[in-house]
Amino acid sequence: MEKKRLNPKIVTIWRQRALMTHFVIWPIIGAFTAAVIFFNWPYFLFYIAGSLAALNVLQLILYVFVFPKISYRTFYYAIRKEDLLIQDGIIIITQTVIPFTRVQNVETEQGPLLRKHHLTAVSVTTAAGVHAIPALEEAEALALRDQISELIKENPANEL
């Protein structure tokens, strides 16, 4: 069994995504504070705005500096003859096995950030949920997709 890792560029992408959400939230907090000042809303709303801002800073620290690296380190996937193994997690590390017989479809997705780095996200859907591999090289993703769909064909669903 061969453990495969994500493409290292995903760390940058995760950070960029976190930064984007971070900067989207500042204007919202700003507008809220402005509204409190101009419309003479009750004073305690400042505390709420303040705690939101603190949370936002916390989000920045965690999602830009702490989590991406840990996520990258823990994540791996392995394709075996009959199943797919995915390990992920930050504090709680989860290993998930998805037998190919249960896979209903394989989906690849590419947003603008991923496209810039020539990466693709692959997700596998079973009747009970979606399991995702966040970033792979384009070619690798396509190969994986084809491999899984080939394996699905070999193991026709026996349920129902």
């Binding site: 075996r80 199943d83 193994l85 997690g89 504090i91 709680i92 590390i93 989860t94 290993q95 998930t96 096995v97 998805i98 037998p99 249960r102 079973t126 009747a127 009970a128 949920g129 399991h131 026996n158 349920e159 129902l160």
Partner: protein, 478 residues
Amino acid sequence: MNSKGKHLHFFAIFNEALSTLWSILVPLMFGFIWGVRHLDTIFGYIIIIPLIILIFNFFKWLRFTYEFVDDQFHIRSGVLVRNDRYIRIQRIQSVQIKTNLLMRPLGIVQLKFDTADPAVKGDMILSALKRTEAEKIKAQISRGKTEQAEQVHSEEIVSVSPNIDESPLHVYTLSGKRLVAASLLYSKIGVMLAAVFGLWSQADDLIPDRIRGRSLSYIEHVSLVGIIIIIGFAILLLWLFSLITTLFKWGGFKLSIYHDEWRIHRGILETRDETYKIDRVQAIRIKEQWLQQLFGWCTLYAECSGSIDSEKGDGGSVLIFPLIRKTDLPIFLENVMPKFSGPITINQLPIRGALYRMIIPIAFWFSLSSILAWWLPWGKYTFLALPLILVYCWIRLRSEGYALNEDRLIFVNRLFAKTTTITRKNNIQSFAKKNSRTQRRLNLASCSATVRASSAETYTMRQLDERDAHKLFHWFRN
């Protein structure tokens, strides 16, 4: 067979948009235009709105037809946008016939069948039918199925007429005494308590000011004993109410087992006839409430893939039997669901796991009590509950466990009621093993198996020994 990627016809864009717009606009517009004339009188609204709904429903009814076409069931519907639906009879997973108080005197029933699709898409409802007609459709569906099956199995046997009215292999009925016992034991005291307290806290809003002033002042004067009596009485009342509803719901319960399906009949005033295919069952749940456990009884549920009946109130699971003796369970399971039956020998979880899990509730209660003790004069007495919580957590966690034999996986969980879940390797969609840093240090891990029930259902066993978790993980992988 390969072909190039093709677009839908360009008109699809307008089509979709129009259908969405129509479905929102038309009722609104009608309501508006008709309402404007009578705007000055409230009477206008009262008359017009139901009338419009009625007219709309009339057209809906007019456009709704169904028929059998070869091996398919064809439903046409839709007032403005036509909707044709063909369902292959083989794909129909279960049939349900239902009546209620309103429809029963008229001899009308509601027929519902569903496919493996999610509930929203998959349910077909024929909302009002004559009972005979419904039975005919049901018979036709099951005949269609058996014919199909026979064609698949052996092409030679053509002349054999499929007998729909095969006698059931086993029939279980709920006797009157058991019905009463089941209803008595089923009563959810916790829920009722919550309801009472909910009502209590809502009393301010519910009761008009004038009366409230009086009643509150009255309450202020009653002694503590009086309040306790009042609360006790309210609980008793609620309990009686739930008892009676359960009696009506489960009255005349009858489970008949055929070789590939279950037929369940239940209800006194509102009757239900349900048919479930056995191969649709993904997991079996054995539930023991406190009281039930005390007397050695349990309730049996099945998790089926496909759609749910959201009104059922059992969280999408199918009630197989309301009350059965724990000692009769193995034989019962053997008859009802041979694939899931077998010995259940539970492996206990490690003690350190139980201790680890007790930290959070204890810490929570401790900090809560500390805060209360700081602010309130009677706060320090809340510490008295601490040993109780401790004991409760200990009992709760020590009664959990798992078992693994051959391809069956059994989890025993307990929050208040003890729940034993039996599922099979073939029914598990994905399996996960989780552990956090602390867990790793303590050599513990959690396992969760996801099953396709009415929605994705995850069964989790927390704080297994790392070795056991590993064993389960490898059991699933191979």
